[in-house]
Amino acid sequence: MSISPFILASSAILIFLSIPLLVPLFLRHQRLLINISSLIAAIASLLAVTAGVWTVWKGSTESYIILLGLPDLPFHLRLDPLSGFFFTVIGLLGFFVSIYSIGYVKGFLSHRPVNRLIVFYNLFMAGMFMVIIADDAFFFLISWEIMAAASYFLVMFEDEKAENRKGAFIYILVAHVGAIAILLSFGVMASLATGFENFGGYTFDAMRQTEFPIKWATAAFLLAFLGFSAKAGVFPLHVWLPEAHPVAPSNVSALMSGVMLKTAIYGIVRVTFDIIKDFPWWWGVIVLIFGLLSAVMGVLYALMQHDLKRLLAYHSVENIGIILIGIGLAMTFTSFHLPVLAALAITAGLYHTLNHAMFKGLLFMGAGAVLHATRVRNMEEMGGLIHKMPWTAALFLIGCISISALPPFNGFVSEWLTFQAFLLSPSLPSPILKLIFPLAAALLALTAALAATCFVKAFGITFLGQWRGHHTHVHEASWSMRIGMILTAVSCLFLGVFPTMVISWMDIIPEKLVGGSLTTTAGQFGWLWLTPISHSRASYSAPLVFLIILVVVLLIYIFLHTRKTAIHRGPLWDCGFEKIDTRMQYTGTSFAMPIRRIFGFIFMIKETVRIEASTGTPGHNIFPKSIHYRLRVRDRMWGWIYSPVADASFWIARKTGKLQQGRIQVYLVYSFVTIIILLVLL
């Protein structure tokens, strides 16, 4: 049997599924267990990357049927360019995070055994790959549940803490509401594919060949979008992210935020572009609207956070929004039969998927290193870490620049492509859409600008200034953690500087999905210029931007440093007062205060100031003994959606609880009445 991408992909999955078997062998040698299992996981991830890159490169599609599962319901597997792309994304971050885990997981050894973490980490990876490779509804949902359950146990890893249990519970609840919606969506499509007589319609192939009536297709799409949105953390179903991500181990947060959310993006793309194919324009507008909402609300809530990982979790909401904007645009363009524009928009969405996996993975790994070193999550207690952790600081900064969409790093490329897609909206036939789309582009611009503000805050308060914490023992991350982060940072730079290479590699995906492709090799220097439509339309040359900035900076540096002027170090300017201490620095809360005030109507803000007057002189608050300031910013969605739903379900539970009398006679009467009713009806 010759080696094909499919063989590599399935062997990667099998390796991930079998790593948990190693755990019983090394129960007493935890360090060795961590080294071995992480290395094998890294190798398996590399296999998956190879499989993915190869599939997209060849543009091949391989499908297999495996005789496992229920009788007459074998598993269908399929590796096409779209799955290949997601294999690459998941495998790449999986590889980096697995290297990072070697050092990171050892940090838990002083408190607890890590067996559970290793078992579920690998099951989680396997589950994600299985979701991508599945080609029938049955196997897809099994894999989906393996992924959800494994990640639930990972969030629960430190289960002695109440917030972990709460976060994990909210996560599994939202995940299952989503899973039900996905199940129903597949049910609708499968029943239309073959009717209710047999089960043949549960394969995606059967669904692809069916032409759905528009009414049922809409029902299936809305259900699928609801289900996948719950997993992706689309506003207003995002509330589980800021609860679950901060409490999970950081390598798991990196994977959950970086790639698990992307399986939901994969699901949306698969269902709309591949299975349903033919849809009205307003589906795209729905996706676009929810994308915009998630992007703007995600970044505004992120600005209000002072827990580093919570802040990053809200940014995942924002970035999923940006990806959905690209996909929503692609859907609108497809429904108006504009394949080239659709190709541009979907490339923007998918490229942002890849970019977000890289920089969000990097940021969560960096946050993990900081948490590991300082043992606090609140960034108001950090500061000045750039002196104590120079490597982590530099790498985290690269993540911040990338996510803030600044050239020449990768976040800019995909946002630039999304803007280009927006600006092509005048070719749409509908006048209202022509008008609305540029306004939507302005919201995206607002998101990008606020994201840059938020990451100035995140990096500035955490790493710059002076150390605000109590203990002084802070150490740099271990080498394996650093290598994992360095590799991720390098890929961020590569994706930013050579976007043309990556886009011409993945050009096959839009060609298969929407029937159009980007001609990136316009002009003389194909790899140098990114020209999505034509040279006179727009162009961006990341290598030149990078090179010119680098050369100018180096030249001035050399020019100015050959002079005789010296550099002295002096104390801070303290306006003539005696001594300024570290508590007088600007904090994250004060940094975000202007934004809080301007966009205050969006949040639920509770601000209380209590002044304790100095004793002996009642009424004199001019020199108070102490001032207590308390600020609480909450998500309005809790009050608007979640509390009513929770109250309603408790109310229903109480009412139905009255049926349970606890007396056998009453239950017998229930059964009797039920039988009578059934007999009458049937």
Partner: protein, 315 residues
């Protein structure tokens, strides 16, 4: 000759941006002095300032990290890059395709991102205050700026700046209401972006009103020289960008090097009047309270949106 002419134009423009920017800043200060009844220090005072700062020693705060030292160089580098992208004298600019209008906005964002980080780096309340305010203003001015640029790009069907300028300069002359609105929005945004009254006051050192100055308060010597110089270039570039986008007539066409002296002369005249216009705005208005800036930038955004609407409805 024709092969070298774009390169020649680029070098000329590079030199012009580097060395004419302080003169333009000097011109603005001079006119301002006259308007306020003061005696001016002359057109060449900014050069003397930069020269003096370059020869002074640097005093760094004790806990300043490499970010603080790296920022001036990066700010200068990105501004220089922006300077060779914007077509000032001729449309035929070889590096103009390197970055389009969206990337240009992002280039200025890099400079601002790092300046804000440098403000937080030293760990004083002043620096943090400046960073926080600057980033707040930026989060509202950048979307408005992009909206203004989108309006112009709808007219020209492109986001490549030299192509946009070409369409407006050499296309059929039509009075477009969309461009009038975009110009109005652009002026408001340019005031905010370059830190002029009524958003920020470049001459203040009073803590209640500082925005940009608060961030760079701890800089000295050559670092300060680079930042000040980059600030002057930014003012110059925003003015010339506005001229190129809205009043490009007279700019040299592709391959037409003989037209260059005329282009230079016309540019000088335009800058002369732009400087007076800026001073009229600055002396006529008072500085706004910090929490009125969002209304100011909101109206800029509104003008840009109106420009967009009028493009679709009237043109």
């Amino acid at each position: 000759m024709n092969v070298f002419s774009p390169l020649f134009v680029m070098c000329l423009q590079f030199i012009a941006v580097l060395f004419a920017a302080p003169a333009f800043a000097g011109w603005v200060r001079m006119v301002k002095c006259w308007f306020q009844g003061r005696k001016s220090a002359g057109l060449f005072q900014p050069y003397r300032d930069i020269f003096k700062l370059l020869h002074k020693d640097v005093v760094l705060a004790e806990n300043a990290s490499w970010i603080f030292r790296f920022t001036p160089f990066l700010v200068f580098g990105t501004t220089v890059l922006a300077g060779v992208i914007i077509p000032i004298l001729s449309i035929d600019l070889p590096l103009s395709a390197t970055a389009d209008a969206i990337a240009l906005v992002a280039l200025f964002t890099i400079a601002r991102f790092f300046t804000a980080l440098a403000g937080l780096d030293i760990g004083t309340a002043f620096g943090g205050m400046g960073s926080s305010r600057e980033k707040t203003v930026a989060s509202m001015s950048e979307p408005a700026m992009l909206m203004a640029i989108f309006t112009v790009s709808l007219v020209s069907q492109s986001t490549s700046i030299s192509h946009m300028v070409n369409v407006i300069a050499h296309g059929e002359f039509v009075l477009r209401p969309s461009l009038a609105f975009a110009l109005l929005a652009f002026i408001l945004i340019a005031l905010a972006e370059t830190g002029r009254i009524p958003v920020d006051n470049p001459a203040t050192h009073l803590e209640l009103t500082m925005i940009h100055e608060a961030m760079i308060l701890e800089y000295s010597g050559r670092h300060l020289a680079l930042i000040e110089w980059a600030g002057m270039m930014k003012l110059f570039l925003f003015t010339t960008l506005g001229i190129a986008l809205f009043f490009p007539w007279g700019i040299a066409a592709a391959g037409d090097i003989t037209f260059l002296p005329v282009a230079i002369l016309l540019l000088l005249i335009k800058l002369f009047f732009a400087g007076i216009g800026l001073v009229l705005i600055e002396t006529g208005l008072a500085k706004m309270r910090l929490f009125r800036i969002q209304e100011f930038l909101g109206s800029a955004f509104l003008f840009a949106t109106l420009g967009l609407l009028s493009y679709f409805m009237l043109e």
